[in-house]
């Protein structure tokens, strides 16, 4: 889509300088920490942009993969804090039972890091394979992913001794040997999250420019034609879905040391939809739209939610309606639209939320 690649790349460069150099200098500790949290959501949003914006798969349950990363990290940090003992919250519910089996491997740093990367790949891979090979798509795919997020959140809420339940996991003292309360270490954690966001942006930028990116857009817009051309659309979608799951998991993993707590509410239906909302606001098919949209929603929640608790959700809802009605490609398409109005040229059609081919299938 982007005709001049270096404009996008220098855009990423400017974004990197702002996040890695300017933000730590000008923001207070509190707002830098908040920015770190928005970065985590933005990482997941970049993945949604890839799967939904470019791939046409409305992934409404990214909370599932966010949870895989977040809970892997949280279990490791909880065990690191507890040392040889059984974590305090488990003692509360059943004082004599040992640590659940599935917690044991998360003592290891290597296993935890591997789990953050491999768990979403395996789960999304198996799920995507089963769905895409059976040509499940459109609204059915969206509902299915959403249902998974609800199911996982309910499962975590009801297994209070194994996962901390509704209260979640919190009170982490260390991050891979570093004391989390130390401001220098907190800055380090922020920089890791910001760097990961930049790396994810570079990765999708590279994806979008590659033949794979073209194939993905082709699959979104005319899946049957892609099939006739001799490609298997299932494989194309599978790759995009797995990469988006991986990004959600990475975002979730970094969310834990930055925010200091993870609960089922952060991964359930509402949280998953809020991730989508940010992407839609920003512009799902653009490079920066998903990340900036997610960060804007995060900022709105902290800032407007503070001054106007009752009103903020209405603002978000209204903004969402306005953007969908008047700017179907999100806020990031606004500059281009304004320029086009002054200098009429070829108009790019909006990326459909669900590919036309799929819509027909839903109708039939």
């Amino acid at each position: 889509m982007t005709k001049k690649p270096w404009i996008s790349l220098s855009g990423i460069g400017v974004f990197a300088v702002l996040l890695l150099a300017v933000a730590p200098l000008v923001l207070s500790d509190h707002w830098l920490n908040n920015l770190g949290k928005y970065c985590c959501w933005a990482i997941a949003a970049v993945g949604i942009g890839l799967a939904w914006g470019r791939g046409g798969m409305l992934v409404m349950g990214q909370g599932v993969f966010f949870a895989l990363g977040a809970y892997s990290m949280a279990m490791h940090l909880t065990l690191e804090t507890a040392g040889d003992r059984v974590p305090g919250f488990m003692v509360l519910y059943d004082p004599l039972a040992p640590l659940p089996m599935f917690w044991e491997p998360f003592r290891s740093t290597g296993f935890t890091l591997l789990a953050i990367v491999l768990l979403p790949v395996v789960v999304a891979g198996a799920l995507g394979y089963a769905l895409f090979k059976r040509r499940v798509k459109g609204a059915y795919f969206a509902i299915l992913t959403q249902a998974l997020a609800v199911a996982l959140a309910t499962l975590i809420s009801s297994t209070i001794r194994e996962t901390g339940g509704d209260t979640g996991l919190s009170d982490f003292k260390y991050f891979f040997g570093f004391v989390l309360n130390d401001p220098a270490n907190r800055l380090m954690v922020y920089l890791i999250a910001a760097t990961l966001l930049i790396v994810c942006l570079l990765a999708v930028w590279q994806f979008y420019r590659s033949r794979f990116g073209e194939l993905l857009v082709a699959t979104r817009d005319a899946e049957e034609r892609v099939r006739f051309l001799g490609y298997d659309p299932a494989n194309v979608k599978l790759v995009a879905f797995v990469v988006s799951a991986l990004m959600a998991s990475i975002g979730g993993a970094m969310f834990v040391p930055i925010v200091g707590i993870i609960t089922p509410a952060e991964i359930g239906a509402a949280a998953s939809i809020l991730m989508i909302a940010g992407v839609a606001l920003g512009g799902r098919a653009s490079l920066f739209g998903p990340a900036l949209g997610a960060m804007a929603v995060g900022w709105g929640q902290s800032s407007l939610g503070s001054t106007w608790p009752d009103g903020w959700t209405y603002i978000l809802g209204l903004l969402f309606v306005v953007v969908i009605l008047f700017l179907p490609n999100g806020l990031s398409s606004l500059p281009a639209r304004l320029m086009r109005r002054q200098r009429p040229g070829p108009v790019e059609p909006p990326a459909p939320a669900i590919a036309p081919a799929e819509l027909e299938e839903v109708k039939s």
Binding site: L9, I12, N34, R85, V86, G165, P183, A203
Partner: protein, 432 residues
Amino acid sequence: MSSTSKRMRALVATGAIGTTMALVLAGCGARAGDDTAAAGSSAAASCVDTSGDTIKLGFLNSLTGGMAISEKTVSNVLHMAADEINAGGGILDKKIEYVQEDGATDWPTFAEKTEKLLTQDCVAAIFGGWTSSSRKAVKPVVEKLNGLFFYPVQYEGLESSPNIYYTGATTNQQIIPAMDFLAAEGVKTLFLAGSDYVFPRTANAIIKLYAAKLGIKIVGEEYVPLDKDDWTSQVAKIVAAKPDFIFNTINGSSNVGFIKAYYDAGLTPAKTPIISVSIAEEEAPAMGHEVTGNYASWNYFQSLETPTNPKFIESWKAYPNSSGVTSDPMEAAYISLYLYKALVEAAGSFDVNAVNAAAKAKPITFDAPEGKVTLDGENHHISKPGHIGRINADNQFDIVWASDKFIEPDPYLEGYDWFPADIRKQLTDAAG
């Protein structure tokens, strides 16, 4: 080809810059086992401004989301207490200027807002919270930043923190009195029904231990998530188990579904009464069904006859947006602000360490609507009278049982030999 390698270089370069910066910083950050690690709080210097004629305090409750219905009352009564204190001259001649934040029934939001109140607004202390989950989210943040948090709701105990003051009941002031009452009533079998989260789970673990000692048989235990209100199948199990009494640790609106299922199944207070620890004057009329004849265990009831209670009820009824009835959690919230005032005046300072030292130096008391409460400077809980009330036709409570004296707070149940010492040790170890 060259453009690909350039791109790769850009990718590698960004990664390298970020990693290097992180590693350089890691070099100066404290690691596990460092001496400085223990003094993590020293890194956060207090930014509280005490130079003007006002003092900033933070109020943090869920004003939106599922808990808003309960927490708005706590928030409102805190505003009333602040207005009263300001009318009386303030704290150390400084008027209270409060910053209200919304926890939005989301525990990470509670953590974020606590950090904001302490580091951005520079408040001297924070008041509020309701669920144990919200307190557990706030706890690491106030401990890290050496702030103060006043928590006003009865809870499951087994916790203490130098940075938290608990003005609601701990287990030995609400759960254990309720069990003593049941034993005195001659109850032989008990069914436990609760919401699926930290308070009911822990409370029931304690109830089971004490029931064994009292010779009360637990004939069943059922949980339903906080946000679900269908109790039909669980109540069917209660009908089958035929208990003498039901111990209800359900929280919030889930109680409505429970009460409905209870009457639909043909259970009645005459044959199978319920004793609740979360249904008070506010909730009783909202059950959607007559609940007359059932019981609740609290420290404060609107019907209590103490010297200060009539004035409290009167002020509350006259306060804007008031619900018209007073209840235990709102009374505990009311206490929390006055207790803070007493602590600061004893310390002569708003400094956290000075306030904590004042708490230990001599007993701090307050003539609360429930009676004269005394702060325990070591565990930061207050003494309270135990009361059991029976709901009457006006949705008020007739007091049917009272502890013979004020019960000293004992969050770790050290004075109770039936609570296993090794569990206590595990819990204190895990907390420390």
